[in-house]
Amino acid sequence: MDVRAQISMVFHLDKCIGCHTCSLACKNVWTSREGAEYMWWNNVETKPGTGYPTLWEDQTKYRGGWEVKGNILRPKLGRRLGLLSNIFFNPFLPTMDDYYEPWTYKYGQLFNAPQADDQPTARAVSKVTGKFLDVEAGPNWDDDMSGSSIYARNDINLSALTDAEREALFRTEQMVFFYVPRICNHCLNPGCVAVCPSGAIYKRAEDGVVVVSQEKCRGWRFCVSGCPYKKTYYNWKTGKSEKCMLCYPRIETGQPSSCFHACVGRIRYKGLLLYDAERIESVAKTPDAGLVEAQRSLILDPNDERVVAAARKNGIGDDWISVARKSPVYKFVKEWGIALPLHAEFRTLPMLFYVPPVLPVLASNTNGSYDLGNRDFFGKVEDSRVPMKYMAHLFSAGNEEIVKKALKKLMAVRAYQQAKSVGNLSVGQASAQLAEAGCSTDEAEAIFRMTALPRFEDRFVLPPYHREEAIETTTETIKQKGETGLGFTRPPKRGP
């Protein structure tokens, strides 16, 4: 057992209102620079939809993630030699047109235009070329566009559905969508690291954050196609790749990452997980249907004495182990089993988990009237507006049982709370639903509290980094403090 720690995250999709505050918090802190304008380390997309960059989930197009050939796990981009032979031209690289061309407006024209019969307008200009631009795409162009023929209907997750199911999904009265905020998953088996020829991308062993060394990166740009989530970006100005680094300067000083801190819906949770690094490869080779379960088995119980002993042997301090015991992520993923990885079939073992949204059918249009039918309160999971096949394609590598189990539990918690606080359901009905979902009343209570009433320190349980001790080894702490915030010693300018 090779125990390592990982800062991990949960997104509770039922609570996401799609406001993009997270995206802006991130943009303001990290990517409002030339060459990085088009990058959204955090973005929010509407599902069903094609996402950002367009069709990022389509790995026949970009070849991200891993595949198992025989018994060998290899990057979809190819093995090492085959990959290097494409170094002068990567046929699977998304280009700026797959994201969007960043733009601003000629605001000055609103004030400086000569007097005329028409209102002056501020036309869009490209932030790359400075020329006028007809804006045709943006980072969230598919926002709320459920049913649209360009966005929603081209969602590749719909391939799991039959034609009839697809049509049903787009019937006006059943039209449905939900939001998926995405940041780098800080995977256990990252695709970007595996295909980086320079070895510039690495995973920090202590906390699992995946970062790009800007000094070592040589701009070979395989990471951009190698990441199946398209969360590494090529800075066209500096010729270097950049990605989300989980705001490590913030978490090292005890603050949650910007996007987490800014979240209006409070959908985000952050905590520590302990995992067994020895079994990463074997888990990543598991057949699709068993992938989510296998990944869960990789996450270790911080209360298990053997795990604790092995963690200590690897240099994980008691303070970190006690933080792992309080981790909200551990509860969501392991104890309750209601948080699932996004697209586990990419086999990168993403360490960012989603609580799938409950989208029940409340009513249907029968003979022109709004018909509630004879359903149970809230309806059944199987009657969800979004077919289980679609959810399973997103959150459990096609295994419907896993998504269903999570959703049933979430429904049962609602029923339990209805019975308790509103009383429109009998306790017996609620208990029956809880029993069917395999959930105790204590657990239902805990899920309710963590979902509806968590405080800041319940949502973000961060380990102490002891940065002061780390700094002491290289420089005096007072001197370091004095120097903080002075910026770059050499501006990060593009090489000649």
Partner: protein, 226 residues
């Protein structure tokens, strides 16, 4: 006098600039080391430029290198006329391919608005010098037949004399003007090397072929070791 300078002094100046410049840039500004790829901005024309250019130039450069390091091999190959024709024919075909690639790359820099704004002055200078080098090389190959045969009698001993610090410029003064320009321009390229995107040649990621896929770094362990 001029030729003494160009073939006896300038090569050393170029080499010193190149080696010193690379060390200076690598130690003080590694951030600037990059292929500075523009595929992200434009990738349709790039294929027809980048692929033939890179594969062509690698083979042609290797050919020159073999001529300098193992002239006997070239001589042995050229011993039979058919083999000489095949060698020269292949080399000419490769150089025409890389010329096409280079022209596509230059055109693309000019006509693609996105690529044009990311082009530095040095990129322009470099493309011009490279084009000059390729054109003089190809013209030498066409007008002065069987270069692979006389290269090893002239350029090889000259370059070897330069590297042994006893430059014998007579090998070069006897050559036609085109070849002289080709040789001098080569040293110009060496001098430009550390100040242009050419440094990406030093980053050829061969180590990737033996590296495990995952890279995990410990901070704590490094501290403990200290």
């Amino acid at each position: 006098m001029l030729e003494t300078f160009l073939f006896g002094v300038f090569p050393y100046a170029a080499l010193v600039i190149m080696i010193g410049g690379v060390i200076w840039r690598y130690t003080t500004n590694q951030f600037s080391y990059s292929s500075v790829s523009s595929q992200f901005l434009e990738n349709r024309q790039l294929f027809w430029g980048s692929a033939p250019w890179h594969y062509g130039i690698i083979l042609i450069l290797l050919g020159h290198l073999v001529g300098v390091l193992f002239p006997d091999t070239i001589q042995a190959i050229n011993g039979v006329p058919v083999r000489l024709y095949i060698l020269e024919g292949t080399a000419l075909a490769m150089s025409l391919a890389l010329l096409v690639g280079l022209v596509v790359l230059i055109t693309r820099r000019v006509i693609s608005p996105r690529v044009r704004v990311t082009t530095s002055v040095m990129d322009g200078v470099l493309l011009f010098v490279l084009l000059f080098q390729v054109v003089t090389g190809i013209m030498t190959a066409i007008f002065y037949r069987w270069g692979s045969a006389w290269f090893i009698q002239t350029a090889t001993p000259y370059l070897r004399s330069v590297f042994t610090l006893s430059p014998n410029i007579e090998y070069m003064t006897a050559l036609p003007l085109l070849s002289k320009l080709h040789a001098i321009n080569f040293f110009v390229l060496l001098a430009l090397f550390p100040f242009s995107r050419l440094v990406h040649m030093l980053s050829v990621p061969l180590a990737y072929l033996w590296r495990p896929y995952q890279v995990v770094m410990w901070y704590r362990r490094r501290q403990i070791q200290q």
